[in-house]
């Protein structure tokens, strides 16, 4: 069953559109009606990043009539390895504007609606309510639960995809009879357990693979072609290049789509246990990069310790530091001298705060966390240290 109005109510195609979409029109399963359904479709992309890039490009090329984009971020250099919707010239621009320009060039028939905001419990129902379906390309658990619950409340399908390093997942949630995100994952992992792509990395091509699957499912839902990826979770493993589909079941006790006891959006930051700052550095003694630079200039005796992983150490390091990765920190404890002033750093200060805590617990008193980590050091003290 396609989404949307009856065939008689669908908008007509211009001759320019008939030519542009000819390779669709000659597929019997799509045909003129399918293309008119795409033209009539209103699809909301949540996120214009790694997944949102192929989603936006392919849905625009396919002729989706109205493409909403919820995104408040700006393009930065580290996005360009995978976010092919944006180019080098767009660094520093708002992603919604960069996306609008690129999509406008690709297919001027598409109306791009920019929602320059983060999706929140306050705006989600109002924004999602304007669309037929949602394609979720967000990058955090809180927004995923928010998108799910809003889609359940509004009865809108949610085309889901998520990625990490070499692995991806995709499915279609929130159809009338299908499962939802809470059926799959009733509760989120505790904050900090699952690294984000910014912390853990992602193969640049992977969002291409997964985002294209999402775009395919969105087009199938709109046109009614084929069997949607409902009740099945596609697992993509790029390192071994294996694709597997496992069975997803609707949970009758699910509070969102089963018992429907969730009747309004909640505080998803709280639900996901986020305190506002995922790295708890409260009460951890800190030193600023300026103070550290001054102490080094004075020739103070300092043990400067990098607690990142060896592959990050290879990217760059603060001169004079030594490596003691947090993942094997217990083994390194004997290398520390409690009589010496010790400064620990990582990328931005979260992991080194944990390492400082471990040293404190072991009885060390003269130990400080470098606030802002090596990134701050690069920005304010030594630009020769590469940022990543």
């Amino acid at each position: 069953m396609p989404i949307g109005r009856s065939a008689a109510e669908l908008p007509r195609l211009s001759n320019e559109e008939i030519l542009r979409y000819s390779r669709h029109l000659i597929i019997p399963e799509v045909g003129v009606e399918g293309q008119r359904r795409l033209k009539d479709a209103r699809i909301l992309m949540v996120g214009a990043g790694g997944l949102g890039s192929p989603i936006g490009l392919y849905l625009a090329a396919a002729g989706v009539g109205r493409l909403g984009i919820v995104e408040a971020d700006v393009v930065d250099e580290t996005n360009l390895q995978r976010q092919v919707l944006h180019g080098t010239k767009d660094v520093g621009r708002k992603k919604v504007e960069s996306a609008r320009d690129r999509i406008g060039d690709l297919n001027p028939n598409v109306e791009v609606v920019a929602h320059e905001a983060w999706l929140t419990s306050e705006n989600a129902l109002e924004i999602i309510g304007q669309y037929d379906l949602v394609v979720d390309g967000t990058d955090n658990f809180a927004t995923r639960y928010l998108v799910n619950d809003a889609c359940i409340l509004l009865r809108k399908p949610n085309v889901y995809g998520s990625i990490f390093r070499f692995e991806g997942q995709a499915t279609v949630f929130c159809t009338d009879d299908g499962p939802c995100y809470r059926c799959l994952y009733p509760e989120p992992p505790p904050p900090g357990l699952v690294p984000s792509c910014a912390e853990g990395g992602v193969l640049g091509i992977l969002p291409g693979l997964v985002g294209v699957v999402q775009a395919t499912e969105a087009v199938k839902l709109v046109t009614g072609v084929g069997e949607p990826l409902v009740g099945r979770l596609l697992l993509v493993e790029a390192a071994r290049m294996e694709f597997r589909t496992v069975r997803l079941r609707k949970d009758p006790s699910c509070p969102a789509c089963g018992t429907r006891e969730i009747k309004a959006l909640i505080d998803y930051q709280q639900f996901c246990g986020i305190r506002g700052d995922e790295d708890d550095v409260t009460g951890i003694p800190a030193i600023t990069v300026t103070e550290l630079a001054a102490r080094r200039r004075r020739g103070d005796d300092l043990d400067l310790v990098d607690v990142r992983e060896p592959h990050e150490w290879d990217i760059g390091r603060i001169e004079g530091a030594r490596l003691a990765p947090l993942s094997r920190f217990a083994e390194s404890l004997r290398t520390f001298d409690s009589a010496r002033d010790t400064v620990l750093y990582c990328k931005v200060g979260g992991r080194s705060a944990k390492a400082v805590k471990q040293l404190q617990d072991a009885g060390f008193r003269k130990v400080w966390n470098l606030a802002g980590g090596i990134i701050k050091w690069s920005e304010e003290i030594d630009p020769n240290v590469p940022r990543y």
Binding site: L51, N140, F164, P189, V194, S196, E237, R244
Partner: protein, 91 residues
């Protein structure tokens, strides 16, 4: 014939860098315990202190969710494949 346990790459670093492990056991819980015994850091990533599965790490036995069977008590046959699917959120 042993059972295969497939881990995602995010957990492989807690399991000697390998994603595919052969293991023994008559239930899913036994198989998990067998692999966890070899890699002490892996155990707490797969099950909680009481030995139960987490709500954000899902086990599929031959592509079927064990929560809709008998959880870790679900019996496994020789040659079965268990896939571990943790929640990821990157985009």
């Amino acid at each position: 014939m042993p059972v295969t346990l497939r881990l995602p790459t995010v957990l492989a670093r807690n399991a000697g860098g390998q994603t595919v492990h052969e293991a023994k056991g008559t239930t899913v819980g036994d198989v998990v315990a067998d692999v966890a015994a070899r890699f002490p850091e892996l155990g707490p990533r797969l099950r909680d202190a009481k030995g139960d599965p987490y709500p954000y790490v899902i086990f599929y036995l031959n592509d079927e969710d064990i929560r809709f069977q008998e959880g870790f008590a679900t019996r496994v046959a020789d040659g079965a494949e268990i896939v571990v699917v943790p929640a990821i959120a990157g985009g």
